[in-house]
Amino acid sequence: MSTVLSEVREHDVLGVGAQRRRTAFWLSVLTLGLVVTGVVAVGTGAIAIAPATVARIIVHQLFGLGETTWTPPQEAIVWQVRLPRVLLGVLVGAGLAVSGVALQAMVRNVLADPYLLGINSGASSGAAAAILFGAGAGFGQYALSTSAFLGALAASLLVFLIARSGGRVTSIRLLLSGVAVGYALYATTSFLIFASGSAEGARSVMFWLLGSLGLARWDALLTVATLVIGGTTLYLTVVGRKLDALAIGDETAHTLGLSPDRFRMRLLVIVSLCVGVLVSASGSIGFVGLVVPHLARRLVGATHVRVVPVAALLGAILLIWADVIARVLLAPQEIPIGIITALLGAPFLLILIRRLHATGS
């Protein structure tokens, strides 16, 4: 009896049980929110389709169940046009969010996000080269994505090599070389636009730079993105404890049985791959990777095993809504989604900075 009592007391002391219940609550709420968001988002657009109809079309397509009470055009809109777009939104939102979480732990800076590594800039340069000069034409319909992906990979490799010194990659070096490479590649992209002299090409590059989910369709890219982002989210959740230790400091990580240098390199490769795939599918979308990790931490605390899945769900929901706004706001014209995420994210970031300052942490 007394041991039971003491266990209960100790349980309360640590607050672990309460934290777990809270996480379970938010995971359920957000999962439900994601499903509702997805169905509503698929139904929203120039031609509105009732959520119930959307749900029935999806169930019918997946399992062959239910009576056909909808028109073929409705089915085409839901299945061929909007669903892949919403799915891409889920992947991009989740991918950017978990990449942001990993990077913030890795460089121990709460302002870190995928932009910081210069990966986005690299992908944009690759995309610009493809649009303006037909780079990667050998890859057919995947020329743009492949070129962007190669650009992203090249950029992160460059950042990594610059940051590496004597077999070690330190946080501050990574941060600085990311910023430097990012600026250099941004200039390269602008130079490519000027050098091509094509107004039409410049317009499409601009659209790319600001991000869009408009390229989404059922293709190999969506499959690759699903595997990569699913894998990254799973991996980051599993190594949550190691991320906690790394976020405190290299010395601490070492004393807790981790090889900080090796772990950081592994993270860098995984995040680069993830962001490379994302950017090649949707262009450069800012602020999600920066803001969502903070939101997730507010909901479930700072341990990464909880932050990663919650951030993935939050990022997915946020990005789908941003895309809905992008499609609806100036319909029939579509606004680049990067503009929406920046407009929503910047004020949020300002509030966050003021809060951080106020609490002094």
């Binding site: 640590l14 230790a245 004393t255």
Partner: protein
Amino acid sequence: MIKAHGVSWRYGANPVIDGVSVTAQPGRVLGLIGPNGSGKTTLLRLLYGALRSPTGSVTVDGSALTALSPREAALRMAVVVQETGGETALTVAEMVLLGRGPHLSTFQRTGRADHEIAARCLARVGATHLGPRAFGGLSGGERQRVLIARALAQQATHLLLDEPTNHLDIRYQHEVLALVRGLGTCSVVVLHDLNLAARYCDDLVLLGTGGVAAAGPVDEVLDPAILEPVYGIGIKRLDLDGHLHLLFQPLEETVA
């Protein structure tokens, strides 16, 4: 038992530790003392493998440190470093539970036994009430106690501490060191305060420029004749109530 033989380290061209050998005996507390810049922290980091000496060897209970995986090393040596991680948003309880990490497999989460150990370790450093609070919001002394609790939760066979009494007021300086001493595990402590070293260590290694100026039981090392040239200060030794005390006086005044 931790045994270092002929280890060295240099920052740039400047050798801080040069061919140093030390042994931390099982069940005893070894103090590393010496003036600023004599390489106390560097030596400690060589002992737990944060630095890899290009010369000599470090063995822990007979196994070469280089042959141990980071996790195996963490099961043998728990370390309280000076890096506090004050910017983390983790709670105190989560911080202490990190000490259980080396005992858990990759897919395992902390269980009831781990929570009990963590709670007990927090209680041992008198920080039970801090459990649910944010680590970043603690005072320097509270943080230090929590970090010691984390090292205890690691339940390693050796405990290494880098100036654990920093930021602690006098009462906690003594409580923390008494705690370390009471554990009965092989411990290595970097200490600034020679009187704390006198009271809570069994053996001492005194580092001077580039190497060991003296090593041995406390009683032998804390000899004014040995200490004065290393620290450059006048020292008087008193034995009061069976305890050794050192009094300090600038050398010029002694001369005058």
